[in-house]
Symmetry: C2
């Protein structure tokens, strides 16, 4: 049963959808001389349909991905259900700030299998991550009431581009199919958080989360009409891959959540056909320091950065039954075994602190080495 | 009354103390070829008296300082007293991780003067920062019961070198003078968290926090005797400046807390004779990005990094009555007006997130440009 639950938790429930047609891709690249970068908000606005002044040059399609993996047991270190919830919110926020595409929660010895009076820490972690990632207007349709979500009101909003503000015109929107039949024959209706449902060309089961590319709004390009303005009109859209906003417009479009039964499964269960091609393990005992003058990341397509639990990654390895590896050899699991915070003034860095600190330090290297081409 | 309370809150209560005699300074510098840096824990251990294998080469005296200033109003953004407390703990932890020497809490329009049913947000902020910075064994003697400390149990420990673990042999220890008369005539007794009080050569009022350099332990150098071993013996120490551990051994020795009535007072009230000689304002609208290839910090002695409130530093300036400056000119207050998180995937970065992210990105520049010489 736990396995089933884990599977349910492991992906956003999504319909199969067409890949974004290539000819629609705006091949806009940032000019390297343009030093003042725009806020993604601006980039998001630029990707709106019918915005005549859209500075297309700001949009950089991104074909690489960044994943992070964290030990699920860290929630056990929080002192109350409220703080447990808050801690997960902090990890989610750090992931969004640094445009992380996948968060993997792995069971480590201190969390896996143990029974807590409040449930399974990894499931709790995964469910909350998914909840936070879901735009507010979809939560009711996607998440049934659950005790894990009891303190979800304390979470700080993700405020990512796929959580659009009211009346914000976006080319893409996250939606959920509804069971109202479409007035136009065929297809289905999707709630994308606007007053009107969007009419999709394809028939999908109700209750499925889907990324929608707005087409009718795009066709009225140049007009300043708001989506909300004509309640009687049924707007058109097509279901696209959730990767489309990133791959065509460089928009950060949230993260997927994956539960891994062990550290080994973090690597083996990669959702990318070719697996992760660059893996970084973080440790204060890392062989390399990010301050080293010659530190760099090799070119990559799918980066994975792994964070340990309260006692570090070595302890996760030590306790892993499926891994016949002494703790001292933990570094052999990774391409890079990295200390991202040399000369730390505290003896300990908590995982929820390590994630933003690490991603902040790695960011310039990621931007430099992530393969942008398809 | 509020002013008095603010003053009480503004400094650690400390006795005047002798500067560390220069000849005792270990002039040990890191060799540049040694790439694997030791954890400060190791550095702290190295600074212990009588540790025969102390790798003195790891100790780099530090003569520059780093201050951060944050808008006190950010605590108003937390949703419960527990989270308000936790948020301040996060700022304190980030400060310790990045060896921040001073935290200034400034009153901005949204916080200053307003009355909340739970008290003054800036005082609350300052009191908690001080509480967290104080080693646990001194808290009872220094902090009377106060409703602001109600949820202090939720705070994660600072775990900095001046919060020694039991039996850890340190050259320096934080202590508080007790009102037991010393058995040796003259001087006073100090509780430094060991079984025995330390005998200081000078007479100090009881209840004063003081940084103690252990001398009797140092004189028995080479022996493996633990401080606790001889309960009948009164150990000797001298009161030193709280800067001594940093200036002589490069040990991070906590932060001081200062309350400023306005943004202007952040600059004007610098505890350093010569003021701050490098000021950085942080904003997503910063003129410079930390990703710029030519970004660098000029050489400095006293760095100040300023963080705004919920609506950014511009809003603090806009609302500041003593500053006749339009928000658009906020950058003129700083030597650098910096965006430390370009291409952020969330529209907003909360101040408690901005502090660790900013300090992580600035750290290599700080280490490079901070003046080490006296």
């Amino acid at each position: 049963m736990e396995g089933n639950a884990a599977n349910r938790c492991a992906h956003r429930p999504r319909a199969r959808r067409d890949k974004e047609p290539k000819q629609q891709e705006r091949k806009a690249r940032n000019t390297s001389t343009n030093k003042k970068r725009k806020h993604p908000d601006a980039a998001a606005a630029a990707a709106t349909a019918g915005a005549p002044s859209a500075p297309a040059a700001e949009l950089v399609p991104r074909h690489y991905t960044v994943s992070i993996a964290v030990a699920g047991s860290i929630v056990l270190n929080a002192q109350s259900p409220e703080l447990r919830t808050y801690l997960i919110g902090e990890i989610a926020r750090a992931a969004a700030i640094f445009q992380v595409d996948e968060i993997v929660v792995f069971a480590d010895a201190s969390g896996a299998g143990a029974s807590y009076n409040w449930g399974d820490p990894n499931l709790f972690f995964g469910r909350l991550l998914q909840y936070i990632e879901t735009p507010q207007y979809l939560r009711k349709a996607i998440f049934p009431h659950h005790s894990d979500l009891r303190f979800a009101g304390l979470l700080n909003p993700l405020d990512a581009p796929h959580h659009p503000r009211a009346h914000e015109q976006m080319v893409y929107r996250e939606g959920v199919t509804v069971d109202t039949p479409a007035s136009i024959s065929g297809g289905s209706l999707v709630n994308v958080g606007l007053r009107n449902y969007i009419h999709l060309d394809r028939r999908l089961k109700p209750g499925v989360r889907v990324t929608v590319k707005m087409t009718s709004a795009a066709s009225s390009s140049g007009s300043s009409r708001k989506y909300q303005a004509s309640p009687q009109q049924e707007m058109e859209g097509v279901a696209v891959s959730p990767e489309a906003p990133r791959e065509t417009h460089g928009l950060y479009w949230g993260y997927t959540t994956r539960l891994a039964k062990s550290l080994t499964e973090v690597f083996a269960g990669s959702p990318y056909k070719e697996g992760y091609d660059l893996t970084v393990g973080t440790s204060e005992r890392g062989h390399q320091s990010i301050d080293d003058e010659d530190f760099a990341l090799p070119a990559f397509r799918h980066l994975l950065v792994v964070f340990g639990g309260v006692a570090g990654l070595e302890a996760c390895v030590e306790a892993a039954e499926d891994l016949d590896l002494p703790a001292g050899k933990t570094h052999t699991l990774f391409d890079k075994w990295l200390n991202v915070c040399p000369d730390q003034g505290s003896r300990t860095i908590r995982t929820e602190e390590a994630v933003p600190i690490t991603m902040a330090r790695l960011r310039p290297f990621i931007v430099k080495s992530g393969r942008r081409e398809k």
